[in-house]
C-alpha cells in the first residue's frame, strides 16, 4: 500500500432490467482502494460482488453514482478509452478462465499483449516468460482443452499480468478449482502481484482466501456490510 488512492467509488448503483422488472444488483456503494492493496470482496451469491468488480474493472458502467480510477471518472470515458484502460491498467481473471479455446497457452497470453503493438519476437518472449513464471513454460503449445483447471487459471493469470497492469481483478478465481489448487492459484496471484506492486481485487466465497488479503469487504444484497472508505 502506498497511501495513494486508486479507486474512489461514490454511491454507485447498478440495476438490470429483466422484462418488466428492474433488479437492483448494487445499491449505493461507497468504497475506496489504495494502490498496492490486496482486497477481497466477500459475500453470498447475489450480494453484488461480481457487479461491483465489473464496475471497478471498467467492464460496466454504474446506473448511478461514480467510479473514479486514478482520479478519472470512468463514466466520462468513451468506450475506446475504457478499452485502452482495460488493456494497459487492468487485468482480469475469471472463474471460468475464459481462455480462447482455439489458441494455445502461449497465444492466449499473446492475445492480451497483441493490441499493445509489440514486435513479434518481443511479444512471444514476454508471453513465454510469463508462462514460465506461472510454471507452464513447458505447456506453452497446449490448447486449453489439454490443460487442467489449475493450469488454465495460471494461463489466465499470466495473461492478466502480461501488460503489467496496475490492478488485477479476479472474479472467484478458485470457483472451478479444488481447494488445494485454488489455494495455490491465489498464492501465485498474490505473490506475483506483490512482487510487481499490483493492486489485487478478488471476489471469493472462501474465508481462508479472504484471510490472505489485506482487507475483506463484505457485501450483502448489493450493499457493503460495513463502511469501506479509507
Amino acid at each position: 500500500m502506498t497511501g495513494e488512492l486508486l479507486y474512489d467509488v461514490r454511491n454507485a448503483s447498478r440495476s438490470f432490467r429483466r422484462g418488466d422488472a428492474t433488479i437492483k444488483a448494487l445499491g449505493g456503494v461507497d468504497l475506496t482502494i489504495e494502490h498496492g492493496e490486496i482486497v477481497a470482496l466477500v459475500g453470498p451469491s447475489g450480494s453484488g460482488k461480481t457487479t461491483l468488480l465489473q464496475l471497478l474493472g471498467a467492464l460496466d458502467r454504474p446506473t448511478s453514482g461514480q467510479v473514479f480510477f486514478e482520479g478519472r471518472d470512468l463514466n466520462t470515458l468513451a468506450d475506446n478509452e475504457l478499452a485502452d484502460l482495460r488493456l494497459r491498467a487492468l487485468g482480469c481473471v475469471f472463474h471460468t478462465f475464459n481462455l480462447i479455446p482455439t489458441l494455445n497457452a502461449l497465444e492466449n497470453v499473446e492475445a492480451k499483449l497483441a493490441p499493445v503493438v509489440l514486435p513479434a519476437d518481443e511479444l512471444r518472449a514476454r508471453s513465454l516468460a510469463l508462462l514460465e513464471e506461472v510454471g507452464l513454460g513447458d505447456r506453452a503449445e497446449h490448447l486449453p482443452s489439454q490443460l487442467s483447471g489449475g493450469e488454465q487459471q495460471r494461463v489466465a493469470i499470466a495473461r492478466a499480468l502480461s501488460t503489467e497492469p496496475r490492478v488485477v481483478l479476479a472474479d472467484e478465481p478458485t470457483g472451478n478449482l479444488d481447494s488445494r489448487t485454488g489455494a495455490e492459484v491465489v498464492d501465485l496471484l498474490t505473490s506475483l502481484s506483490e512482487e510487481r506492486r499490483h493492486t489485487v481485487i478478488l471476489v471469493t466465497h472462501d474465508a481462508e482466501i479472504a484471510e490472505k488479503t489485506h482487507r475483506s469487504i463484505r457485501m450483502q444484497d448489493g450493499r457493503l456490510l460495513e463502511p469501506a472508505l479509507l
Binding site: 468506450d79 482495460r86 487492468l90 475469471f94 482455439t102 489458441l103 493490441p115 513479434a120
Partner: protein, 556 residues
C-alpha cells in the same frame, strides 16, 4: 503476426463450423452461377433458333400457295401445276441407261410452293419501305442411285410329243413295179432296194429325189397321204416375268437455290456458317450443306456431292435458321434452276424492310400487291410457328429464369449472412473476453471480418469451381432441346393429298449449355464475399458494441 495466427486457429480450430459455412457459401455461389449460366444458355439457344429470320437479314418471306390461282404473279396453273410437277417423280427405268450400269438421278419437286418468274420480284422491290429483296428456290428432292436392272423374260418352248399311229400297208408287187417304173421314168434313183421302205428318205442322187412332188406321185395313194403336212394345234404360251432385282436407293432431301452475289440477305447468309466459307460470288459448282444434314450423311468440308450427276464441292457447313425456308443443301440459284429445269423461276422471296417499324406496312403492301395467293410471313409469325422443348424451356427461362437467378442470388446471400451470423452468435463469449482483455471495438470487428473474408474467399472459390463443374456437366450431359417448324403444308393436305409427303419439317436440336463468363464467376464470388462480409460486419459490430460485462453475462 498474432492476428493472422489467431484467424487461422479460429478457422482450423472450429473446423466443422468453418466447413459448414464454407459449403453453404459454395453451394449458394454454385447455384447462382449454374442457374444464371443455364438461363444464358437458353437465351442464346433461343436467339439462334427461335429468332430465325433476323439472322438472315430478313423481315418477311413471301411464298405462293397453290390453293388459288395467283392472279398473274405466279406461273399459273395453281394446284394442277404442283400436282403435275410432283408426279414427275416416277422412275422410268428405261431412261436410266443400259442395264447393269450405275446411275444417279435426282428429282426436284416444288413441294407445295408455286414457282414464279424471278423477274416478278421487281414488283416487290419497287414497293415503298422495302430495303432489299432476294430470290430463293427451295425444292424437295429425291435422290436415287443404283444399278440399272436387267429385265429378262425366260420362255420355255418345245418338248411337245406328237404321237401318230397309222398302219401302212406295204406296196404290192404290182405297186412296187409301177413305182420303180415311175421313178425310172423320172430318173430318180435306181428304185427301191430290197427290204427298204420305198419312197422314204433320201437316196436320190439328183435334185428331184424321192421327195420331189413329181416323185411323190409315183407312190400309191395311201402312202402319198401319209407324207402330207402334219399341223400341230396352235397354242399361246404365257410366262410370268419376275420383277428385276434392283439396288436402287432413294433418299429425300431439300435443296435451296441462293443468290451468291447477294450475301446480306438470303435463305442462308455467311453469318450462319459454322465452318468453311460461303459460296463464292461467282457461283459455280459449290455447295453449302446444313450441319445437321452433313452429320447425318457423314459429309465433310471439301468432299463432293453428286446432284443429278453434277459434282458440287462442299465449301461450307451452315446452320440454317429454323422456321424460315430451310434446306439441307444450298447451291447457287442458277445451278439449281438448271438442274431442276426451272430456269428463271423462284418460289420464295426474302424481303427486308427499311426499318423494323415498317414491317407491318410492307407486309400489307405485299399482300395487296400480290393478291390472296401470296403468303407473307413475318419473323414474328415464323417464330410463333416453331415448337418443341426448346420453346417450352425458353418460355420457362423467359418467365422464370430471371426470378430463379434472383432467388438463387438472394438465397446465396442470405445463406452466407445467416451462417456468418450464427457463427458470430456462438462467439459472444469470446468477443466479451477479448473486450475485457482490452481489445477495442474496431479490433474485434476487424478480426471477425478477417475471418469472414477468408471464409468468403474460400467459399467463393469453391463455389466458383462447383459452378464451373456444374456448367461443364450440363454441357457434357448435353440435355438437348429441340425446336421444329413445318412449312409448306398449309391447306395442301386437303387440296392435293400430297402435303404431308412434301412438307418440309425443319428441326434443330440444341444441346443445352450453361455458358459462363468471367463477370458471372466474379459476380458469384462477390456475392459470397459480400454476404459474408456484410453479415460478419453487422454481427461483429453488434457483439463488439455490447459492454464486456453484458457479453460475459450472456455466456453464463
Amino acid at each position: 503476426m498474432f492476428y493472422l495466427r489467431y484467424l487461422r486457429s479460429e478457422l482450423l480450430g472450429r473446423r466443422t463450423r468453418t466447413i459448414l459455412t464454407l459449403v453453404g457459401l459454395a453451394l449458394g455461389v454454385a447455384l447462382v452461377i449454374t442457374i444464371t449460366g443455364l438461363a444464358r444458355g437458353l437465351d442464346r439457344a433461343q436467339k439462334t433458333a427461335l429468332n430465325p429470320l433476323s439472322t438472315i437479314g430478313t423481315d418477311l418471306t413471301v411464298t405462293l400457295s397453290p390453293q388459288q390461282d395467283t392472279g398473274g404473279f405466279g406461273r399459273g396453273g395453281g394446284g394442277g401445276q404442283v400436282v403435275q410437277a410432283n408426279q414427275s417423280a416416277v422412275t422410268d427405268l428405261s431412261k436410266l441407261g443400259k442395264p447393269g450400269t450405275q446411275f444417279v438421278h435426282d428429282f426436284f419437286l416444288p413441294g407445295t410452293q408455286l414457282t414464279f418468274p424471278q423477274k416478278q420480284t421487281a414488283k416487290i422491290a419497287s414497293l415503298s419501305g422495302v430495303a432489299a429483296v432476294s430470290n430463293g428456290l427451295v425444292l424437295s428432292a429425291v435422290h436415287q442411285e443404283g444399278v440399272v436392272p436387267k429385265i429378262v423374260a425366260k420362255i420355255k418352248t418345245g418338248g411337245q410329243q406328237l404321237n401318230i399311229r397309222r398302219q401302212i400297208k406295204p406296196p404290192t408287187a404290182a405297186e412296187a413295179a409301177a413305182m420303180q417304173a415311175c421313178f425310172q421314168k423320172l430318173g430318180v434313183g435306181g428304185g427301191p432296194q430290197s427290204g427298204a421302205q420305198p419312197g422314204f428318205g433320201g437316196g436320190g442322187r439328183t435334185g428331184g429325189g424321192f421327195d420331189s412332188p413329181a416323185a411323190r406321185k409315183c407312190l400309191p395313194a395311201r402312202m402319198r397321204e401319209f407324207r402330207a403336212r402334219i399341223t400341230t394345234p396352235q397354242q399361246t404360251l404365257k410366262q410370268v416375268v419376275s420383277p428385276p432385282q434392283t439396288n436402287i436407293k432413294s433418299t429425300s432431301y431439300t435443296i435451296g437455290g441462293i443468290d451468291p452475289a447477294q450475301q446480306s440477305i438470303g435463305l442462308v447468309t455467311p453469318s450462319q456458317l459454322s465452318s468453311g466459307r460461303f459460296i463464292s460470288k461467282a457461283g459455280g459448282h459449290e455447295v453449302l450443306v446444313s450441319a445437321a444434314y452433313a452429320k447425318r450423311k457423314s459429309l465433310k468440308l471439301g468432299s463432293t456431292l453428286d446432284l443429278n450427276g453434277t459434282m458440287f464441292k462442299i465449301v461450307g457447313l451452315v446452320r440454317p435458321p429454323l422456321g424460315g425456308q430451310t434446306a439441307d443443301v444450298y447451291i447457287p440459284l442458277a445451278q439449281l434452276q438448271k438442274l431442276a429445269s426451272q430456269k428463271g423461276l423462284a418460289n420464295v422471296v426474302l424481303v427486308r424492310a427499311s426499318s423494323s417499324s415498317d414491317v407491318a406496312n410492307v407486309q400489307k403492301e405485299i399482300e395487296q400487291a400480290l393478291g390472296s395467293g401470296a403468303q407473307v410471313a413475318s419473323a414474328k409469325q415464323v417464330a410463333a410457328s416453331i415448337n418443341g422443348s426448346l420453346v417450352d424451356a425458353a418460355n420457362l427461362s423467359h418467365n422464370l429464369g430471371l426470378v430463379l437467378a434472383i432467388i438463387a442470388a438472394v438465397a446465396a446471400f442470405l445463406l452466407a449472412a445467416l451462417l456468418t451470423l450464427s457463427s458470430i452468435g456462438k462467439r459472444v463469449r469470446e468477443i466479451g473476453t477479448l473486450k475485457a482483455l482490452g481489445w477495442s471495438q474496431r479490433l474485434v470487428v476487424r478480426q471477425v471480418l478477417g475471418e469472414c473474408l477468408a471464409t468468403g474467399v474460400a467459399g467463393g472459390l469453391v463455389g466458383v469451381a462447383l459452378g464451373v463443374l456444374a456448367a461443364a456437366a450440363v454441357g457434357a450431359l448435353g440435355p438437348s432441346l429441340s425446336a421444329s417448324s413445318t412449312t409448306g403444308t398449309t391447306g395442301a393436305n386437303d387440296v392435293l393429298g400430297l402435303g404431308q409427303a412434301l412438307a418440309r419439317t425443319a428441326s434443330t436440336s440444341v444441346s443445352l449449355t450453361a455458358p459462363l463468363s468471367l463477370s458471372l464467376l466474379l459476380f458469384g464470388f462477390a456475392l459470397a464475399l459480400a454476404g459474408g462480409l456484410i453479415a460478419g460486419g453487422a454481427g461483429a459490430l453488434r457483439a463488439a458494441r455490447l459492454r464486456p460485462a453484458d457479453a460475459l453475462r450472456q455466456m453464463e
